[in-house]
């Protein structure tokens, strides 16, 4: 009975704390037309502390969306254009000799910010990617002999486009796994595109207002952690992840030879965290299977290794996840 009261209280708390979600969404909608899924995914990443990899052809407002989110939160924002000649020091910072002080001083790189937009991450060589991904994981950077904690909220949003693969350095599987979500952005609809034209023909392009502070995000993150997740939901998440590892056990024999490796425990953790954040966005104090299903594609699509057979048969990780969701029993 007490637990019931807790849920009620939590629900009320979430109703109160999550009101900013609508405000941020509204601000973003002023600038971004459509892309509801992209905005929701950005919020899920923001609230669960997970980094996001955005994939889409050029011109789909990937950069604009991230910039708008940073603007509406009044957070520090840095955009780093990844190029083949980028060095880890360009990102992290380095020690430079100060003639005035006659000593080496630390020159912090652009990563010391709240929101990092790593534009076209796959254009930089592996050592730069590796340095960024390490910072993403550890949330700290060591320059010289000193370790610096990165300020919270710290969120990396990397973009890559699926075309023009020449001269790129595709992210290794182990590093892609560090991104909580991989969001694939699709083209807008006809009506949305018409609206985009109208918006861009205005004398002044709309700008998002600052409606939140970074501290509010940190507070919201604490509330997200309190969102109740029942054991049944946890089992559902485990079933989904296990189905990627052992499809045969879930009557998905046709994918046995298609999957070279399945989701890691990090996938299960990310799925649970993302589902909680999604429930929060939907202003609920508890997770329901819909929340898991809503974030499953973004959490899992980059964590399933496809075999040559799958590629030969044009089977994508999305196909496999969709089939898993249609097969695994919902609690």
């Amino acid at each position: 009975m007490n637990q019931t009261v807790d849920i009620r209280e939590l629900n009320e708390r979430i109703q109160k704390e999550s009101s900013f979600v609508d405000i941020i969404s509204m601000e973003m909608n002023k600038v971004i037309v459509g892309q509801k899924h992209l905005i929701e995914s950005l919020l899920v990443g923001l609230l669960s502390g997970g980094h996001i990899l955005l994939e889409g052809v050029p011109g789909l407002a990937k950069t604009l969306a991230i910039h708008t989110l940073a603007t509406s939160i009044d957070a520090k924002y840095a955009r780093i254009q990844f190029t083949p000649d980028l060095l880890p020091a360009d990102l992290m910072g380095t020690m430079i000799y100060s003639q005035k002080k006659e000593e080496f001083v630390v020159k912090k790189g652009p990563i010391f910010t709240n929101f990092v937009l790593a534009d076209e991450i796959n254009r930089a060589p592996a050592k730069v990617q590796s340095a960024l991904l390490e910072a993403m994981q550890e949330r700290q950077i060591t320059i010289g002999e000193t370790t610096y904690k990165l300020q919270e909220p710290f969120l990396v949003m990397a973009t890559q486009n699926p075309i023009e693969q020449e001269g790129t350095y595709p992210l290794p599987e182990a590093q892609v796994d560090r991104f909580m979500l991989k969001v694939v952005i699709k083209y807008p609809s006809k009506d949305e595109e018409k609206l985009i034209i109208q918006l861009n023909l205005l004398k002044q392009f709309p700008v998002a207002s600052k409606v939140m502070r970074p501290e509010d995000i940190l507070k919201a993150r604490e509330v997200v952690k309190d969102v109740y997740m029942d054991e049944k939901i946890q089992k559902y998440i485990v079933d989904i992840v296990f189905a990627t590892r052992d499809p045969k056990a879930y009557k998905l024999d046709k994918y046995v030879d298609m999957i070279s490796y399945g989701g890691s425990p990090r996938a299960s953790i990310s799925l649970a965290q993302a589902a909680k954040a999604y429930a929060f966005i939907k202003r609920r104090g508890y997770v329901i299977p819909e929340d898991v299903r809503a974030v499953c594609m973004d959490v899992m699509r980059h964590r399933i290794g496809l075999s040559y057979e799958a590629e030969a048969n044009n089977i994508t990780s999305e196909d496999i996840i969709a089939e898993i969701l249609n097969t695994v029993e919902v609690p």
């Binding site: 637990q3 109740y228 029942d230 024999d253 104090g285 029993e329």
Partner: protein
């Protein structure tokens, strides 16, 4: 004197075609099925002996050719057959003979050797004759070309091995094909014909009865109670409407019914929505419903099943099934 004459006549008669031993105890016979054949054609020569069962005999050893121009083409095994007199038996052998010389040919008598204890004897068949006719040549037409051999018509005996071979190959191909299909689909190679499935509503009502009798919510096992009620309804939907409700979330199931409005009426949809949303709250949000809600959920489940069940053909004269069932449900709930 008369008696002597009649014995003499009888002896003369018996010493002709039928040679008998031990006064009518052994009878031997040789016969052919035709007396006129075309050159190269075959004749069937039948050798028979009727004898007491305890008498040892030896069939004549017919060589492959005899009488210099008669050839044995084939011969059967010695066949034994029963006679009316159970102490006697009949042995016979068929020989196929031919001749490639035209003219009259004699088949000499064949000798059966008999052994009665220590006494040896023999019985001979009658000699036979047959005429072999050559081809008539029309000399008036002058010399003609040599005719090529005629192709003999194919017999069943010749074709049978090929037919069996084809059947065997077809069977192997079928089994390979069936095995590959089985491997791909991972279904049993041979399956028993399935029993006709029970109607979905019968299974669902039985499950609801079981849940009701278990008195789960009365024992404060609310989560189990709502999970079982919801799962029963979801299984019923799956079986009744072919909607994969067990793999769908509540919203997806409701959404499917909303999209296909002809499946259930508005009232049933409300009942379903009530059952599933309340069950979700109990299952995932630790919600504790009122005792009335617990009863109402089960009642809604009964009504939902009864209102949406597939109607069976009613037998004329039988009372309306729905009415009686609704009464039963009402009784069950009031209990």
């Amino acid at each position: 004197m008369k008696q002597i004459i009649s014995y003499t006549v009888l002896l003369i008669l018996l010493s002709g075609s039928i040679h008998s031993l031990k006064a009518q105890q052994v009878t031997v016979k040789a016969s052919i099925d035709s007396t006129h054949i075309l050159i190269g054609d075959q004749l069937k020569l039948l050798l028979e002996i009727e004898k007491p069962k305890d008498l040892d005999i030896q069939f004549p050893q017919v060589p492959d050719s005899f009488s210099s121009n008669i050839e044995v083409v084939d011969r059967s095994k010695i066949d034994t057959s029963k006679l009316e007199d159970k102490k006697r038996e009949k042995l016979s052998q068929r020989l196929f003979i031919t001749s490639f010389d035209s003219g009259m040919h004699q088949i000499p008598p064949f000798y059966f050797k008999l052994k009665d204890g220590t006494r040896l004897d023999s019985a001979a068949t009658r000699a036979l004759a047959f005429q072999v006719h050559g081809m008539k040549i029309d000399t008036t037409k002058g010399p003609v070309d040599i005719k090529m051999p005629y192709s003999a018509s194919v017999t069943l005996k010749e074709v049978t091995p090929y037919i069996l071979g084809i059947i065997l190959i077809a069977a192997i191909i079928f089994f390979i094909f069936y095995y590959i299909r089985w491997k791909k689909k991972n279904v049993p190679l041979f399956t028993k014909p399935e029993k006709p499935a029970e109607p979905a509503h019968i299974i669902a009502l039985r499950e609801l009865d079981r849940i009701k009798n278990q008195k789960l919510w009365q024992q404060e096992k609310l989560k189990q109670y709502y999970s079982e009620v919801a799962d029963t309804i979801r299984t019923y939907i799956e079986n009744r409407f072919d909607i994969p409700a067990m793999e769908f979330t509540s919203a997806e199931t409701i959404g499917t019914f909303k999209q296909n409005k002809n499946l259930i009426d508005e009232n049933s949809l409300d009942q379903l929505q009530h059952i599933l949303s309340l069950a979700d709250l109990v299952k995932f949000a630790k919600y504790t419903p009122l005792p009335d809600d617990n009863n109402l959920t089960l009642m809604n489940a009964y009504f939902f099943v009864n209102q949406t069940k597939k109607e069976e053909l009613k037998v004329p004269g039988k009372p309306a099934e729905e009415e009686t069932e609704n009464e039963v449900v009402a009784e069950k709930i009031s209990e």
